[in-house]
């Protein structure tokens, strides 16, 4: 009997959202443990030895308590055939997703910006999306003319790029205006059955940026 993966995190996107996306895309049902809301909950997890490096995200999956976002994502992608068919495809996928993770890092930290830095961080985030990251993915799609970023089949790269596009669009709705192929890509990938389901209301996707949880995170992690 396989038990569902169990996610330990705050009630927000943060570093766990990409993991939710990947599990959902793979059609894997998962549970969320009690959301981290108090310092006491966090200290209990620490005392129980559940967090290898004292950090969340943590995902209980296949009898492992996995921590470290990339370790978790790599495992899920590998297990569910979303990581390419060979080492060279994996290299391409890794380059593309590391790009999205750099962009996501800016998106994730933006709500935590100090008031003085907010405007600057916002501008940098949008600039990086439109000048550094999206042009790369637009060109990849243009050069091979295929539906997916790597190897002519769905991979975590497609999922992670879609996720980043949607999060940036929340802040700047016209961000894809110069990227026609990414617009088509967004529509196409959003329409894949498991992803379509994840994008519907009532799914386990977090529907808002993390402004609401800034206070909770600061309190729980004593930042």
């Amino acid at each position: 009997m396989t038990t569902k993966p169990r996610l330990y995190y705050f009630n927000g996107r943060g570093r766990m959202e990409t993991i939710r996306w990947l599990l959902a895309t793979a059609g894997v049902e998962f549970e969320e443990a009690e959301y981290l809301e108090t310092r006491e909950q966090y200290e209990k997890l620490l005392q129980d030895g559940a967090l290898l490096f004292q950090q969340v995200p943590m995902v209980e999956i296949d009898e492992m308590k996995l921590v470290q976002t990339r370790a978790i994502l790599n495992y899920i992608a590998g297990k569910h055939n979303l990581y390419g068919k060979d080492i060279k495809e994996r290299a391409l996928i890794d380059m593309y997703v590391e790009g999205t993770m750099d962009l996501n890092e800016m998106i994730m930290l933006y709500p935590f910006s100090s008031p003085e830095e907010k405007e600057k961080n916002f501008a940098l985030m949008i600039q990086r999306a439109t000048n550094r990251y999206f042009p790369v993915y637009e060109k990849v799609l243009k050069d091979h003319g295929q539906d997916f970023l790597v190897g002519n089949q769905l991979s975590r790269a497609d999922v992670q790029v879609l996720e980043s596009i949607l999060m940036i669009e929340e802040y700047e709705p016209t961000v894809l205006s110069e990227f026609p192929l990414l617009q088509a890509f967004k529509a196409r990938i959003s329409n894949l059955p498991t992803i379509k389901k994840f994008l519907q209301p009532g799914s386990q996707r977090r529907t808002e940026p993390d402004d609401r949880i800034v206070e909770t995170v600061n309190k729980v992690l004593q930042l």
């Binding site: 290898l52 490096f53 004292q54 296949d62 492992m64 996995l66 921590v67 470290q68 976002t69 990339r70 370790a71 790599n74 495992y75 590998g78 297990k79 080492i87 060279k88 994996r90 290299a91 890794d94 380059m95 590391e98 790009g99 750099d102 550094r132 990251y133 790369v136």
Partner: protein, 221 residues
């Protein structure tokens, strides 16, 4: 044309050092091109060599690879340093991400204004968050290597992290006897022993010249 991997980076550690370690551990000879001027960097961008306008860049097996972790994973997998199955890979990934986080506190150090540098926090993290984990892993299974009773990327990166922290605090392993033995043992592996000797491609700690070069190359117009 040599077919050897070619590394493009500053003449210093930074984000490239873990890659040098892994190639060296795997016994792979590599070439280096050092970034010294803004013009070189702009030329690389203009030539389309840097996917996200960033270094490290490693030209390997016909690919121009960027993103440190993508490069490390490729090398680890190619040279059988990434475990034998998905679960071993998961353990290795967790362990290397931990050491990467620790080293990630040290890499920006020379670029941080003096009064913001927090060496005490680095040592605290090393001795209370990271080293105890690896000490326990080794103690619990009693094997020579961190994962799967076999030399892997995790062992290389842990040794690298230990040595970097020791440069800042030489007694940092004093409470970790198993890690002390690990350090001695892994340092003695022939390819690693060679890399640890003077004259290898291992880079020294960053100095003012290195910092000045990086700032100059990345300076905004």
């Amino acid at each position: 044309m040599s077919g050897k991997p070619k590394l493009t980076y500053f003449n210093g550690r930074g984000c490239m050092e873990s890659i040098r370690w892994l190639l060296a551990a795997a016994g792979v000879e590599f070439e280096e091109e050092f970034l010294e001027t803004r013009e070189q960097y702009q030329k690389l961008i203009k030539d389309g060599a840097l996917l996200f306008d960033q270094v490290p860049l490693v030209e390997i097996d016909g690919m121009k690879m960027v993103q440190t972790r993508a490069i490390l994973r490729y090398i680890a997998a190619k040279y059988n340093l990434y475990g034998k199955d998905l679960k071993e890979r998961a353990l290795i990934d967790m362990y290397v991400e931990g050491t990467a986080d620790l080293m990630g506190m040290i890499i920006p150090f020379p670029f941080t204004p003096l009064k913001e540098r927090n060496l005490a926090l680095i040592i605290e993290r090393a001795t209370t968050r990271y080293f105890p984990v690896y000490e326990k892993v080794l103690k619990q299974h009693g094997q020579e290597f961190l994962v799967g009773n076999r030399f892997s990327w995790a062992d290389v990166q842990l040794l690298e992290a230990i040595l970097i922290v020791e440069e800042k605090e030489p007694t940092v392993l004093s409470k970790f006897p198993v890690l002390q033995a690990f350090k001695a043992r892994i340092s003695n592996i022939p390819t690693i022993k060679k890399f640890l000797q003077p004259g290898s491609q291992r880079k020294p700690p960053p100095d003012d010249q290195y910092v000045a070069t990086v700032i100059e190359v990345f300076k905004k117009d």
